[in-house]
Symmetry: C2
């Protein structure tokens, strides 16, 4: 996966509009923080939103995230996950 | 919500078996870190797993999380969310 490509795609999708600065300060408390999650989980969640109700065994149904995830290829989602996982200053270990 | 009650319930459910120490070190990269998420999001996600495919418009289908969430009342889930959100050392702001 390409973190650089992922950064471009995440900015294009304007994920920060809801998930906040560094994708770590959601604008609503019902939205998750994303930065620092494992890339595999982020990819899983993005793919689940993309699939949505077309496969309720796997998909997650969410109006916003469904439309947000639709434009992207599988490789795009993996790049985006790699970038989000790389964001610093979030899931750090307490000192 | 009661953080203390939530702590007891989270320990009873053994969430750390998968989500790791302080619920911030998942044993598999496909699992999310939880500590420090907003309680509203944590409650939303727990409730979505509990609902599952009985309402695919809202539910999230996941075999493990479905069985994990089934035993708990709505108040329990809110207490658990409050406790998990309170866990330190995770989604901290970078200094």
């Amino acid at each position: 996966s390409s973190i650089d490509k992922g950064k471009t795609l995440v900015e294009k999708a304007n994920c920060a509009a809801c998930h906040g600065a560094n994708l770590n300060a959601p604008i609503l408390p019902a939205y998750p923080k994303l930065a620092g999650q494992y890339p595999e989980y982020l990819y899983y969640a993005l793919r689940a939103y993309q699939v949505g109700n077309s496969n309720p065994q796997f998909g997650r149904n969410n109006a916003i995230m469904s439309s947000q995830s639709q434009p992207f290829s599988d490789a795009d989602l993996k790049d985006m996950a790699a970038y989000i996982a790389s964001l610093p200053g979030n899931f750090v270990v307490k000192k």
